[in-house]
Protein backbone atom coordinates (compact mmCIF):
# COMPACT_ATOMS: atom_id res chain seq x y z
CA UNK A 1 0.00 0.00 0.00
CA UNK A 2 2.69 2.42 0.92
CA UNK A 3 4.76 1.63 -2.13
CA UNK A 4 1.87 2.56 -4.38
CA UNK A 5 3.04 4.76 -7.19
CA UNK A 6 1.68 8.28 -7.21
CA UNK A 7 0.54 7.91 -10.78
CA UNK A 8 -1.98 5.28 -9.65
CA UNK A 9 -3.15 7.48 -6.82
CA UNK A 10 -4.84 9.77 -9.29
CA UNK A 11 -2.36 12.61 -9.59
CA UNK A 12 -1.92 14.26 -12.97
CA UNK A 13 0.86 13.12 -15.28
CA UNK A 14 2.80 16.39 -15.22
CA UNK A 15 2.64 16.57 -11.44
CA UNK A 16 4.01 13.05 -11.20
CA UNK A 17 6.85 13.93 -13.54
CA UNK A 18 7.66 17.01 -11.56
CA UNK A 19 7.69 15.03 -8.32
CA UNK A 20 9.83 12.26 -9.78
CA UNK A 21 12.47 14.85 -10.58
CA UNK A 22 12.73 15.27 -6.79
CA UNK A 23 12.83 11.50 -6.30
CA UNK A 24 9.27 11.34 -5.01
CA UNK A 25 7.55 8.46 -6.75
CA UNK A 26 5.56 6.56 -4.14
CA UNK A 27 2.82 7.53 -1.71
CA UNK A 28 5.23 6.85 1.11
CA UNK A 29 7.67 9.52 -0.11
CA UNK A 30 4.81 11.99 -0.55
CA UNK A 31 3.26 11.52 2.88
CA UNK A 32 6.56 11.72 4.72
CA UNK A 33 7.21 15.29 3.63
CA UNK A 34 6.13 18.30 5.60
CA UNK A 35 3.69 20.88 4.25
CA UNK A 36 6.30 23.44 3.29
CA UNK A 37 8.38 20.87 1.48
CA UNK A 38 5.31 19.72 -0.41
CA UNK A 39 4.48 23.27 -1.45
CA UNK A 40 8.01 23.81 -2.67
CA UNK A 41 8.15 20.57 -4.57
CA UNK A 42 4.74 20.75 -6.20
CA UNK A 43 4.75 24.49 -6.72
CA UNK A 44 1.15 24.78 -5.62
CA UNK A 45 -0.67 26.84 -3.06
CA UNK A 46 -1.50 25.81 0.51
CA UNK A 47 -5.10 24.86 -0.19
CA UNK A 48 -4.22 22.89 -3.30
CA UNK A 49 -1.57 20.95 -1.40
CA UNK A 50 -4.17 20.07 1.23
CA UNK A 51 -6.41 18.68 -1.47
CA UNK A 52 -3.51 16.71 -2.96
CA UNK A 53 -2.72 15.29 0.46
CA UNK A 54 -6.29 14.10 0.87
CA UNK A 55 -6.18 12.52 -2.57
CA UNK A 56 -2.96 10.62 -1.86
CA UNK A 57 -4.17 9.61 1.60
CA UNK A 58 -7.35 8.20 0.14
CA UNK A 59 -5.23 6.00 -2.09
CA UNK A 60 -3.35 4.55 0.89
CA UNK A 61 -5.86 4.56 3.71
CA UNK A 62 -7.52 1.33 4.85
CA UNK A 63 -11.16 0.66 4.25
CA UNK A 64 -13.62 1.32 7.04
CA UNK A 65 -15.76 -1.45 8.44
CA UNK A 66 -18.00 -1.36 11.47
CA UNK A 67 -17.60 -3.91 14.22
CA UNK A 68 -21.06 -5.18 13.35
CA UNK A 69 -20.00 -6.05 9.79
CA UNK A 70 -17.00 -7.90 11.18
CA UNK A 71 -19.22 -9.92 13.50
CA UNK A 72 -21.62 -10.80 10.69
CA UNK A 73 -18.75 -11.97 8.54
CA UNK A 74 -17.44 -14.16 11.34
CA UNK A 75 -20.81 -15.67 12.19
CA UNK A 76 -21.23 -16.77 8.57
CA UNK A 77 -18.45 -19.36 8.97
CA UNK A 78 -18.08 -20.07 12.69
CA UNK A 79 -16.23 -23.35 12.43
CA UNK A 80 -13.32 -21.78 10.60
CA UNK A 81 -12.53 -19.47 13.48
CA UNK A 82 -10.46 -21.95 15.48
CA UNK A 83 -8.27 -24.99 15.10
CA UNK A 84 -9.27 -27.36 17.86
CA UNK A 85 -6.33 -28.84 19.75
CA UNK A 86 -8.39 -31.94 20.71
CA UNK A 87 -7.43 -31.35 24.34
CA UNK A 88 -10.81 -30.51 25.81
CA UNK A 89 -9.75 -28.43 28.77
CA UNK A 90 -7.28 -26.44 26.65
CA UNK A 91 -9.93 -25.82 24.02
CA UNK A 92 -12.34 -24.62 26.67
CA UNK A 93 -9.85 -22.14 28.06
CA UNK A 94 -9.00 -20.89 24.58
CA UNK A 95 -12.70 -20.60 23.69
CA UNK A 96 -12.46 -23.10 20.87
CA UNK A 97 -8.81 -23.74 20.17
CA UNK A 98 -5.93 -22.04 18.44
CA UNK A 99 -7.46 -18.94 16.85
CA UNK A 100 -7.26 -18.46 13.10
CA UNK A 101 -6.05 -15.11 11.91
CA UNK A 102 -3.65 -14.35 14.74
CA UNK A 103 -0.31 -15.36 16.17
CA UNK A 104 -0.15 -17.79 19.06
CA UNK A 105 2.96 -18.23 21.15
CA UNK A 106 3.79 -21.47 22.96
CA UNK A 107 6.40 -21.08 25.62
CA UNK A 108 7.95 -23.27 28.25
CA UNK A 109 11.12 -24.77 29.67
CA UNK A 110 13.06 -27.27 27.57
CA UNK A 111 11.54 -30.72 27.38
CA UNK A 112 8.03 -29.73 28.34
CA UNK A 113 6.52 -30.62 24.99
CA UNK A 114 6.46 -27.57 22.69
CA UNK A 115 7.81 -29.40 19.66
CA UNK A 116 5.48 -32.32 20.35
CA UNK A 117 2.56 -29.89 20.41
CA UNK A 118 3.69 -28.45 17.11
CA UNK A 119 3.98 -31.88 15.52
CA UNK A 120 0.52 -32.79 16.73
CA UNK A 121 -1.08 -29.62 15.43
CA UNK A 122 0.54 -30.26 12.06
CA UNK A 123 -1.25 -33.59 11.95
CA UNK A 124 -4.50 -31.94 13.02
CA UNK A 125 -4.25 -29.32 10.31
CA UNK A 126 -4.07 -31.93 7.58
CA UNK A 127 -7.25 -33.67 8.76
CA UNK A 128 -10.48 -32.92 6.91
CA UNK A 129 -12.82 -30.26 8.29
CA UNK A 130 -15.34 -32.87 9.41
CA UNK A 131 -12.79 -34.23 11.87
CA UNK A 132 -11.91 -30.78 13.21
CA UNK A 133 -8.94 -30.09 10.97
CA UNK A 134 -8.23 -27.45 8.37
CA UNK A 135 -7.80 -29.75 5.37
CA UNK A 136 -4.69 -28.04 4.15
CA UNK A 137 -0.94 -28.15 4.01
CA UNK A 138 1.42 -27.06 6.75
CA UNK A 139 4.60 -25.01 6.57
CA UNK A 140 6.97 -25.95 9.35
CA UNK A 141 10.03 -23.77 9.83
CA UNK A 142 12.43 -25.65 12.05
CA UNK A 143 15.41 -23.84 13.54
CA UNK A 144 16.53 -26.46 16.02
CA UNK A 145 16.39 -29.53 13.81
CA UNK A 146 14.01 -31.03 16.33
CA UNK A 147 11.37 -32.22 13.91
CA UNK A 148 11.16 -35.97 13.66
CA UNK A 149 9.20 -37.46 10.79
CA UNK A 150 8.99 -40.83 12.48
CA UNK A 151 7.40 -39.26 15.51
CA UNK A 152 4.94 -37.54 13.19
CA UNK A 153 3.84 -40.85 11.75
CA UNK A 154 3.69 -42.41 15.20
CA UNK A 155 1.40 -39.66 16.49
CA UNK A 156 -0.84 -39.81 13.44
CA UNK A 157 -1.14 -43.58 13.52
CA UNK A 158 -1.86 -43.84 17.24
CA UNK A 159 -4.11 -40.85 17.58
CA UNK A 160 -6.33 -41.40 14.59
CA UNK A 161 -6.03 -45.08 13.81
CA UNK A 162 -9.35 -45.19 11.97
CA UNK A 163 -8.45 -42.36 9.64
CA UNK A 164 -4.86 -43.29 8.95
CA UNK A 165 -5.62 -46.92 8.41
CA UNK A 166 -3.45 -47.36 5.38
CA UNK A 167 0.17 -46.61 4.55
CA UNK A 168 -1.08 -44.56 1.63
CA UNK A 169 -2.99 -42.12 3.86
CA UNK A 170 0.01 -41.60 6.13
CA UNK A 171 2.29 -40.85 3.21
CA UNK A 172 -0.27 -38.45 1.77
CA UNK A 173 -0.33 -36.60 5.07
CA UNK A 174 3.43 -36.37 5.27
CA UNK A 175 3.57 -34.99 1.76
CA UNK A 176 1.48 -32.02 2.79
CA UNK A 177 3.80 -30.96 5.61
CA UNK A 178 6.52 -28.76 4.14
CA UNK A 179 9.59 -28.58 6.32
CA UNK A 180 12.16 -25.80 6.07
CA UNK A 181 15.30 -25.91 8.13
CA UNK A 182 16.63 -22.42 8.70
CA UNK A 183 19.55 -21.85 10.97
CA UNK A 184 20.13 -18.11 10.96
CA UNK A 185 17.99 -15.05 11.65
CA UNK A 186 18.56 -13.75 8.14
CA UNK A 187 17.38 -16.93 6.48
CA UNK A 188 14.34 -17.14 8.78
CA UNK A 189 13.35 -13.61 7.83
CA UNK A 190 13.89 -14.30 4.15
CA UNK A 191 11.76 -17.44 4.43
CA UNK A 192 8.96 -15.52 6.19
CA UNK A 193 9.00 -12.85 3.47
CA UNK A 194 8.67 -15.46 0.73
CA UNK A 195 5.80 -17.32 2.38
CA UNK A 196 2.96 -15.48 0.69
CA UNK A 197 3.27 -17.15 -2.70
CA UNK A 198 3.98 -20.56 -1.21
CA UNK A 199 0.86 -20.36 0.92
CA UNK A 200 -1.28 -19.75 -2.13
CA UNK A 201 0.36 -22.33 -4.37
CA UNK A 202 0.54 -25.14 -1.81
CA UNK A 203 -2.85 -24.36 -0.18
CA UNK A 204 -1.26 -23.98 3.23
CA UNK A 205 -3.55 -23.64 6.24
CA UNK A 206 -1.06 -23.50 9.13
CA UNK A 207 2.38 -22.00 9.66
CA UNK A 208 4.57 -23.15 12.54
CA UNK A 209 7.92 -21.64 13.52
CA UNK A 210 9.83 -23.77 16.02
CA UNK A 211 11.48 -21.94 17.62
CA UNK A 212 12.03 -18.28 17.03
CA UNK A 213 13.94 -17.83 20.25
CA UNK A 214 16.81 -20.15 19.45
CA UNK A 215 18.05 -18.26 16.37
CA UNK A 216 17.58 -14.93 18.09
CA UNK A 217 19.50 -15.94 21.16
CA UNK A 218 22.29 -17.44 19.08
CA UNK A 219 22.90 -14.28 17.12
CA UNK A 220 22.00 -11.39 19.37
CA UNK A 221 23.59 -10.78 22.73
CA UNK A 222 21.65 -8.09 24.52
CA UNK A 223 24.63 -7.09 26.57
CA UNK A 224 26.40 -5.79 23.48
CA UNK A 225 25.81 -2.25 22.33
CA UNK A 226 23.19 -1.86 19.61
CA UNK A 227 22.21 -5.52 19.57
CA UNK A 228 18.98 -4.93 21.43
CA UNK A 229 17.77 -2.51 18.77
CA UNK A 230 18.70 -4.85 15.94
CA UNK A 231 17.04 -7.75 17.67
CA UNK A 232 13.81 -5.79 18.19
CA UNK A 233 13.94 -4.68 14.55
CA UNK A 234 14.26 -8.24 13.34
CA UNK A 235 11.49 -9.50 15.61
CA UNK A 236 9.14 -6.66 14.79
CA UNK A 237 9.63 -7.09 11.05
CA UNK A 238 9.01 -10.81 11.27
CA UNK A 239 5.99 -10.29 13.52
CA UNK A 240 4.33 -7.78 11.23
CA UNK A 241 4.73 -9.99 8.15
CA UNK A 242 3.40 -13.01 10.05
CA UNK A 243 0.43 -11.03 11.34
CA UNK A 244 -0.35 -9.86 7.84
CA UNK A 245 -0.22 -13.44 6.54
CA UNK A 246 -2.35 -14.75 9.41
CA UNK A 247 -5.04 -12.14 8.83
CA UNK A 248 -4.96 -12.21 5.08
CA UNK A 249 -5.35 -15.99 4.83
CA UNK A 250 -7.35 -16.42 8.07
CA UNK A 251 -5.03 -19.10 9.32
CA UNK A 252 -3.34 -19.76 12.65
CA UNK A 253 0.37 -19.08 13.07
CA UNK A 254 2.14 -20.83 15.93
CA UNK A 255 5.49 -19.70 17.30
CA UNK A 256 7.46 -21.34 20.06
CA UNK A 257 9.59 -19.52 22.53
CA UNK A 258 12.10 -20.44 25.20
CA UNK A 259 12.25 -19.17 28.74
CA UNK A 260 14.94 -17.68 30.81
CA UNK A 261 15.33 -16.40 34.33
CA UNK A 262 14.48 -12.78 34.83
CA UNK A 263 16.89 -10.95 37.03
CA UNK A 264 14.99 -8.70 39.33
CA UNK A 265 16.61 -6.37 41.84
CA UNK A 266 19.99 -7.80 40.95
CA UNK A 267 19.22 -11.27 42.35
CA UNK A 268 18.83 -14.36 40.22
CA UNK A 269 15.34 -15.65 40.92
CA UNK A 270 14.68 -19.34 40.88
CA UNK A 271 12.37 -21.31 38.62
CA UNK A 272 9.07 -19.80 39.66
CA UNK A 273 9.87 -16.32 38.28
CA UNK A 274 10.86 -17.14 34.73
CA UNK A 275 9.73 -14.98 31.84
CA UNK A 276 9.81 -15.51 28.07
CA UNK A 277 13.15 -14.87 26.47
CA UNK A 278 11.75 -12.85 23.67
CA UNK A 279 11.75 -9.13 23.51
CA UNK A 280 8.45 -7.66 24.61
CA UNK A 281 7.65 -6.39 21.17
CA UNK A 282 7.11 -9.87 19.77
CA UNK A 283 4.54 -10.95 22.32
CA UNK A 284 2.27 -8.05 21.36
Amino acid sequence: MAAKKLRRAGLSQELCERLSRHQITTCQDFLCLSFLELMKVTGQSYYDVQKLLCKVSRACAPKMQTAYEMKLRKSVSPSSAFLSTTLHSLDKVLHGGVPCGSLTEITGPPGCGKTQFCIMTSVLATLPVSMGGLDGAVIYIDTESAFSAERLIEIAGNRFPTYFDSEEKLLCMTRSIHLYQELTCGSVLKRIMSLEEEIISKKVKLVIIDSIASVVRKEFDTKLQGNLIERSNFLARGASVLKYLAEEFSMPVILTNQITTSLSNGLAIQADRVSPADDLSLSE
Binding site: M1, L31, C54, A61, P62, A67, E284
Partner: protein, 366 residues
Protein backbone atom coordinates in the same frame (compact mmCIF):
# COMPACT_ATOMS: atom_id res chain seq x y z
CA UNK B 1 -3.21 45.93 6.68
CA UNK B 2 0.55 45.85 6.79
CA UNK B 3 0.84 42.15 6.14
CA UNK B 4 3.95 40.86 4.43
CA UNK B 5 3.57 39.48 0.90
CA UNK B 6 5.63 36.41 1.74
CA UNK B 7 3.06 35.20 4.26
CA UNK B 8 0.14 34.94 1.84
CA UNK B 9 -0.51 31.33 0.79
CA UNK B 10 0.29 31.60 -2.90
CA UNK B 11 2.29 29.25 -5.07
CA UNK B 12 6.00 29.63 -4.32
CA UNK B 13 6.95 30.64 -7.86
CA UNK B 14 4.35 33.40 -7.88
CA UNK B 15 5.43 34.59 -4.48
CA UNK B 16 9.05 34.75 -5.57
CA UNK B 17 8.07 36.91 -8.55
CA UNK B 18 6.07 39.30 -6.39
CA UNK B 19 8.94 39.70 -3.97
CA UNK B 20 11.49 40.23 -6.72
CA UNK B 21 9.11 42.76 -8.29
CA UNK B 22 9.56 44.85 -5.17
CA UNK B 23 6.20 44.30 -3.45
CA UNK B 24 6.55 44.01 0.30
CA UNK B 25 3.15 44.50 1.89
CA UNK B 26 -0.28 43.38 0.73
CA UNK B 27 -1.40 47.00 0.79
CA UNK B 28 0.89 47.73 -2.13
CA UNK B 29 -0.60 44.81 -4.02
CA UNK B 30 -4.15 45.97 -3.47
CA UNK B 31 -3.29 49.51 -4.56
CA UNK B 32 -1.75 48.37 -7.84
CA UNK B 33 -4.80 46.56 -9.18
CA UNK B 34 -4.82 43.52 -11.47
CA UNK B 35 -3.79 45.21 -14.73
CA UNK B 36 -0.90 47.03 -13.19
CA UNK B 37 0.20 43.88 -11.41
CA UNK B 38 0.14 41.81 -14.55
CA UNK B 39 2.22 44.39 -16.41
CA UNK B 40 4.83 44.77 -13.69
CA UNK B 41 5.29 41.08 -12.85
CA UNK B 42 4.70 39.65 -16.29
CA UNK B 43 1.77 37.36 -15.46
CA UNK B 44 -1.58 37.18 -17.19
CA UNK B 45 -4.47 39.38 -16.05
CA UNK B 46 -6.46 36.34 -14.83
CA UNK B 47 -3.57 35.21 -12.66
CA UNK B 48 -3.18 38.71 -11.26
CA UNK B 49 -6.89 38.80 -10.41
CA UNK B 50 -6.59 35.45 -8.64
CA UNK B 51 -3.68 36.74 -6.59
CA UNK B 52 -5.65 39.77 -5.49
CA UNK B 53 -8.66 37.64 -4.58
CA UNK B 54 -6.54 35.37 -2.44
CA UNK B 55 -4.97 38.36 -0.76
CA UNK B 56 -8.34 39.95 -0.05
CA UNK B 57 -9.68 36.68 1.33
CA UNK B 58 -6.69 36.40 3.61
CA UNK B 59 -7.13 39.91 4.96
CA UNK B 60 -10.79 39.38 5.67
CA UNK B 61 -10.03 35.95 6.99
CA UNK B 62 -7.63 37.43 9.50
CA UNK B 63 -10.35 39.61 10.94
CA UNK B 64 -12.85 36.77 11.02
CA UNK B 65 -10.53 34.19 12.42
CA UNK B 66 -10.19 36.00 15.67
CA UNK B 67 -13.91 35.51 16.27
CA UNK B 68 -14.08 32.02 14.76
CA UNK B 69 -14.62 29.05 17.01
CA UNK B 70 -12.39 26.50 15.36
CA UNK B 71 -8.75 26.81 14.47
CA UNK B 72 -5.63 26.99 16.53
CA UNK B 73 -6.13 30.64 17.59
CA UNK B 74 -9.05 30.11 19.97
CA UNK B 75 -9.53 32.84 22.50
CA UNK B 76 -11.63 32.66 25.63
CA UNK B 77 -11.39 33.47 29.27
CA UNK B 78 -10.62 30.90 31.92
CA UNK B 79 -14.17 31.27 33.25
CA UNK B 80 -15.66 30.20 29.93
CA UNK B 81 -13.26 27.27 29.88
CA UNK B 82 -14.27 26.31 33.42
CA UNK B 83 -17.94 26.29 32.51
CA UNK B 84 -17.17 24.20 29.46
CA UNK B 85 -15.10 21.71 31.42
CA UNK B 86 -17.71 21.29 34.10
CA UNK B 87 -20.44 20.61 31.61
CA UNK B 88 -18.34 18.11 29.74
CA UNK B 89 -18.94 14.43 30.06
CA UNK B 90 -16.48 11.70 30.81
CA UNK B 91 -16.20 8.27 29.29
CA UNK B 92 -16.34 5.82 32.15
CA UNK B 93 -14.18 2.72 32.25
CA UNK B 94 -16.50 0.64 34.50
CA UNK B 95 -13.67 0.44 37.03
CA UNK B 96 -14.70 3.06 39.55
CA UNK B 97 -11.27 3.23 41.18
CA UNK B 98 -9.71 4.10 37.82
CA UNK B 99 -12.48 6.59 37.08
CA UNK B 100 -11.85 8.25 40.42
CA UNK B 101 -8.15 8.78 39.90
CA UNK B 102 -8.86 10.12 36.41
CA UNK B 103 -11.33 12.59 37.86
CA UNK B 104 -14.48 10.93 36.51
CA UNK B 105 -13.23 8.93 33.55
CA UNK B 106 -11.49 9.52 30.24
CA UNK B 107 -11.82 13.20 29.45
CA UNK B 108 -13.09 14.55 26.15
CA UNK B 109 -10.89 16.95 24.14
CA UNK B 110 -7.76 15.47 25.70
CA UNK B 111 -5.28 12.86 24.58
CA UNK B 112 -4.91 9.97 27.01
CA UNK B 113 -2.04 7.57 26.56
CA UNK B 114 -2.07 4.08 28.05
CA UNK B 115 1.32 2.35 28.29
CA UNK B 116 2.05 -1.13 29.47
CA UNK B 117 3.71 -4.46 28.88
CA UNK B 118 2.03 -6.93 26.57
CA UNK B 119 -0.96 -8.74 28.02
CA UNK B 120 -1.66 -6.25 30.78
CA UNK B 121 -4.97 -5.01 29.42
CA UNK B 122 -4.48 -1.98 27.15
CA UNK B 123 -6.55 -3.32 24.26
CA UNK B 124 -9.18 -4.51 26.75
CA UNK B 125 -9.49 -0.97 28.06
CA UNK B 126 -9.77 0.39 24.52
CA UNK B 127 -12.54 -2.04 23.65
CA UNK B 128 -14.32 -1.22 26.92
CA UNK B 129 -14.13 2.51 26.16
CA UNK B 130 -15.40 1.98 22.61
CA UNK B 131 -18.51 0.42 24.16
CA UNK B 132 -18.82 2.86 27.09
CA UNK B 133 -18.74 5.97 24.91
CA UNK B 134 -22.09 4.85 23.49
CA UNK B 135 -23.92 4.72 26.83
CA UNK B 136 -26.97 7.01 26.58
CA UNK B 137 -26.90 10.30 28.46
CA UNK B 138 -29.65 9.33 30.89
CA UNK B 139 -27.36 6.60 32.24
CA UNK B 140 -24.46 8.99 32.65
CA UNK B 141 -22.68 8.45 29.35
CA UNK B 142 -21.87 10.73 26.44
CA UNK B 143 -23.96 8.93 23.79
CA UNK B 144 -21.28 9.06 21.16
CA UNK B 145 -19.75 6.78 18.55
CA UNK B 146 -16.22 5.41 18.35
CA UNK B 147 -13.46 5.20 15.78
CA UNK B 148 -11.03 2.32 16.36
CA UNK B 149 -7.74 2.44 14.48
CA UNK B 150 -5.94 -0.87 14.94
CA UNK B 151 -2.27 -1.28 14.00
CA UNK B 152 -1.57 -4.54 15.80
CA UNK B 153 -4.55 -6.66 14.87
CA UNK B 154 -5.57 -7.33 18.45
CA UNK B 155 -9.19 -6.23 18.07
CA UNK B 156 -11.37 -9.29 18.59
CA UNK B 157 -15.05 -8.85 17.75
CA UNK B 158 -16.26 -11.65 20.00
CA UNK B 159 -14.71 -9.95 22.99
CA UNK B 160 -16.43 -6.68 22.11
CA UNK B 161 -19.71 -8.60 21.89
CA UNK B 162 -19.18 -9.89 25.45
CA UNK B 163 -18.32 -6.43 26.76
CA UNK B 164 -21.28 -4.84 24.97
CA UNK B 165 -23.68 -7.48 26.29
CA UNK B 166 -22.49 -6.88 29.86
CA UNK B 167 -22.88 -3.11 29.43
CA UNK B 168 -26.41 -3.43 28.05
CA UNK B 169 -27.35 -5.73 30.90
CA UNK B 170 -25.94 -3.23 33.42
CA UNK B 171 -28.10 -0.47 31.91
CA UNK B 172 -31.17 -2.72 31.96
CA UNK B 173 -30.70 -3.33 35.67
CA UNK B 174 -30.38 0.37 36.39
CA UNK B 175 -33.54 1.03 34.39
CA UNK B 176 -35.40 -1.66 36.34
CA UNK B 177 -34.28 -0.17 39.62
CA UNK B 178 -35.33 3.37 38.70
CA UNK B 179 -38.28 2.86 36.36
CA UNK B 180 -37.94 6.20 34.63
CA UNK B 181 -39.35 6.87 31.21
CA UNK B 182 -36.34 8.21 29.43
CA UNK B 183 -34.33 5.23 30.65
CA UNK B 184 -36.70 2.83 28.97
CA UNK B 185 -36.83 4.90 25.81
CA UNK B 186 -33.04 5.00 25.55
CA UNK B 187 -32.85 1.26 26.06
CA UNK B 188 -34.92 0.69 22.93
CA UNK B 189 -32.05 1.82 20.74
CA UNK B 190 -29.20 0.64 22.97
CA UNK B 191 -28.47 -2.95 22.05
CA UNK B 192 -25.47 -5.07 21.15
CA UNK B 193 -26.13 -4.65 17.41
CA UNK B 194 -26.37 -0.89 17.62
CA UNK B 195 -23.21 -0.71 19.72
CA UNK B 196 -21.28 -2.79 17.19
CA UNK B 197 -22.53 -0.81 14.21
CA UNK B 198 -21.28 2.43 15.73
CA UNK B 199 -17.71 1.28 16.19
CA UNK B 200 -15.86 2.30 13.02
CA UNK B 201 -12.86 0.05 12.57
CA UNK B 202 -9.75 0.75 10.50
CA UNK B 203 -6.91 -1.74 10.19
CA UNK B 204 -3.64 0.04 9.42
CA UNK B 205 -0.80 -2.27 8.48
CA UNK B 206 2.09 0.19 8.48
CA UNK B 207 2.89 3.77 9.41
CA UNK B 208 1.97 5.16 5.98
CA UNK B 209 -1.57 3.80 6.26
CA UNK B 210 -1.75 5.26 9.76
CA UNK B 211 -0.59 8.69 8.55
CA UNK B 212 -3.00 8.58 5.62
CA UNK B 213 -5.89 7.62 7.89
CA UNK B 214 -5.15 10.43 10.34
CA UNK B 215 -5.05 12.94 7.44
CA UNK B 216 -8.47 11.73 6.34
CA UNK B 217 -9.91 11.60 9.86
CA UNK B 218 -11.18 15.23 10.05
CA UNK B 219 -13.31 14.70 6.93
CA UNK B 220 -14.59 11.39 8.31
CA UNK B 221 -15.49 13.05 11.61
CA UNK B 222 -17.39 15.79 9.80
CA UNK B 223 -19.54 13.13 8.18
CA UNK B 224 -19.96 11.19 11.41
CA UNK B 225 -20.42 14.04 13.82
CA UNK B 226 -21.50 11.87 16.72
CA UNK B 227 -18.04 10.34 17.16
CA UNK B 228 -16.75 11.11 20.65
CA UNK B 229 -13.84 8.72 20.90
CA UNK B 230 -10.87 7.98 18.65
CA UNK B 231 -8.76 5.02 19.72
CA UNK B 232 -5.39 4.30 18.14
CA UNK B 233 -4.44 0.86 19.44
CA UNK B 234 -0.72 0.54 19.05
CA UNK B 235 0.75 3.87 18.06
CA UNK B 236 4.20 2.46 18.72
CA UNK B 237 4.03 -0.75 16.70
CA UNK B 238 4.37 0.68 13.18
CA UNK B 239 7.10 3.09 14.23
CA UNK B 240 9.37 0.71 16.04
CA UNK B 241 10.92 -1.11 13.17
CA UNK B 242 12.12 -0.20 9.70
CA UNK B 243 13.15 3.28 10.78
CA UNK B 244 16.79 4.02 10.20
CA UNK B 245 16.09 7.72 10.13
CA UNK B 246 15.12 8.55 13.69
CA UNK B 247 14.69 12.26 12.99
CA UNK B 248 12.06 11.41 10.38
CA UNK B 249 10.30 9.27 12.95
CA UNK B 250 10.30 12.09 15.51
CA UNK B 251 8.98 14.53 12.92
CA UNK B 252 6.19 12.19 11.79
CA UNK B 253 5.19 11.40 15.37
CA UNK B 254 5.08 15.07 16.31
CA UNK B 255 2.96 15.82 13.26
CA UNK B 256 0.65 12.95 14.20
CA UNK B 257 0.37 14.23 17.78
CA UNK B 258 -0.52 17.73 16.56
CA UNK B 259 -3.20 16.48 14.22
CA UNK B 260 -4.71 14.34 16.97
CA UNK B 261 -4.78 17.33 19.35
CA UNK B 262 -6.58 19.38 16.69
CA UNK B 263 -9.06 16.54 16.14
CA UNK B 264 -9.65 16.18 19.88
CA UNK B 265 -10.36 19.88 20.29
CA UNK B 266 -12.38 20.57 17.15
CA UNK B 267 -14.68 17.58 17.50
CA UNK B 268 -14.87 17.52 21.28
CA UNK B 269 -13.79 13.91 21.35
CA UNK B 270 -11.39 11.95 23.49
CA UNK B 271 -8.32 10.45 21.87
CA UNK B 272 -6.89 7.32 23.48
CA UNK B 273 -3.54 5.93 22.35
CA UNK B 274 -1.82 2.77 23.50
CA UNK B 275 1.92 2.55 23.69
CA UNK B 276 4.35 -0.28 24.26
CA UNK B 277 7.09 -0.46 26.84
CA UNK B 278 10.74 -0.71 26.04
CA UNK B 279 13.78 -1.41 28.15
CA UNK B 280 16.14 1.40 28.87
CA UNK B 281 19.57 0.03 29.69
CA UNK B 282 21.06 2.10 32.48
CA UNK B 283 24.49 1.76 34.04
CA UNK B 284 23.64 -0.97 36.49
CA UNK B 285 20.09 -1.98 35.76
CA UNK B 286 17.47 -1.79 33.08
CA UNK B 287 14.10 -0.16 33.55
CA UNK B 288 10.90 -0.36 31.60
CA UNK B 289 9.89 2.94 30.08
CA UNK B 290 7.22 3.88 27.52
CA UNK B 291 8.43 3.44 23.95
CA UNK B 292 8.91 6.10 21.26
CA UNK B 293 11.30 8.23 23.23
CA UNK B 294 11.28 11.28 25.42
CA UNK B 295 9.81 13.72 22.92
CA UNK B 296 6.70 11.59 22.48
CA UNK B 297 6.04 11.91 26.20
CA UNK B 298 4.93 15.48 25.60
CA UNK B 299 2.24 14.52 23.13
CA UNK B 300 -0.25 13.05 25.56
CA UNK B 301 -1.98 15.13 28.18
CA UNK B 302 -2.82 12.25 30.46
CA UNK B 303 -0.59 9.21 30.80
CA UNK B 304 -1.58 5.92 32.39
CA UNK B 305 0.88 3.13 32.96
CA UNK B 306 -0.43 -0.40 33.42
CA UNK B 307 1.85 -2.89 35.12
CA UNK B 308 1.92 -6.09 37.10
CA UNK B 309 2.66 -6.59 40.76
CA UNK B 310 2.95 -10.35 41.28
CA UNK B 311 -0.35 -11.36 39.78
CA UNK B 312 -2.29 -8.17 40.42
CA UNK B 313 -2.79 -5.68 37.63
CA UNK B 314 -2.19 -2.08 38.61
CA UNK B 315 -2.86 1.20 36.87
CA UNK B 316 -0.76 4.24 37.70
CA UNK B 317 -1.73 7.75 36.72
CA UNK B 318 1.65 9.00 35.66
CA UNK B 319 0.92 12.37 34.12
CA UNK B 320 -2.15 14.55 34.46
CA UNK B 321 -2.71 18.32 34.56
CA UNK B 322 -5.47 18.14 37.14
CA UNK B 323 -5.28 14.90 39.10
CA UNK B 324 -2.87 13.53 41.65
CA UNK B 325 -0.47 10.72 40.81
CA UNK B 326 -1.82 7.47 42.26
CA UNK B 327 -2.08 3.74 41.67
CA UNK B 328 -5.14 1.53 41.74
CA UNK B 329 -5.69 -2.17 41.10
CA UNK B 330 -8.06 -3.34 38.38
CA UNK B 331 -9.44 -6.57 37.08
CA UNK B 332 -10.33 -7.97 33.70
CA UNK B 333 -13.33 -10.25 33.86
CA UNK B 334 -15.41 -11.92 31.21
CA UNK B 335 -17.58 -8.78 31.29
CA UNK B 336 -14.66 -6.49 30.60
CA UNK B 337 -12.75 -3.95 32.60
CA UNK B 338 -13.80 -3.93 36.24
CA UNK B 339 -12.82 -3.03 39.78
CA UNK B 340 -11.13 -5.55 41.99
CA UNK B 341 -14.01 -7.02 44.00
CA UNK B 342 -13.59 -6.72 47.77
CA UNK B 343 -13.27 -10.19 49.39
CA UNK B 344 -16.56 -10.02 51.36
CA UNK B 345 -19.09 -9.81 48.56
CA UNK B 346 -22.66 -10.92 49.26
CA UNK B 347 -24.43 -13.15 46.77
CA UNK B 348 -27.56 -10.98 46.41
CA UNK B 349 -29.30 -10.16 43.18
CA UNK B 350 -27.19 -8.34 40.58
CA UNK B 351 -28.78 -5.02 41.50
CA UNK B 352 -27.25 -4.86 44.97
CA UNK B 353 -23.83 -5.99 43.75
CA UNK B 354 -23.73 -3.14 41.27
CA UNK B 355 -23.39 -0.36 43.78
CA UNK B 356 -19.59 -0.36 44.21
CA UNK B 357 -19.20 -0.07 40.42
CA UNK B 358 -21.55 2.82 39.95
CA UNK B 359 -20.07 6.19 39.30
CA UNK B 360 -20.76 8.83 42.00
CA UNK B 361 -22.65 10.93 39.42
CA UNK B 362 -25.19 8.26 38.72
CA UNK B 363 -26.05 7.90 42.40
CA UNK B 364 -27.07 11.55 42.43
CA UNK B 365 -29.72 10.79 39.86
CA UNK B 366 -31.50 8.45 42.26
Amino acid sequence: MQRDVGSVPLAPALRARLVSGGFQTVQELLETGPCGLSKEIGISKEEALEVLQVVRQECHGDAERAAARSGASRKCTALELLEEEQAQGFIITFCSALDNILGGGVQLTKITEVCGAPGVGKTQLCMQLAVDVQIPECFGGVAGEAVFIDTEGSFIVDRVVDIAAACVQHCHLIAEAHQEEDHLKALETFSVESILSHIYYFRCRDYIELLAQVYLLPDFLLEHSKVRLVVVDGIAFPFRHDFEDLSLRTRLLNGLAQQLIIIANDHKSAVVLTNQMTTRIGQSQSTLVPALGESWGHAATVRLIFHWDNSQRLATLYKSPSQKESTVPYHITSHGFRDVQPPAVTQHAEGAEMNPRKRPRREEEK
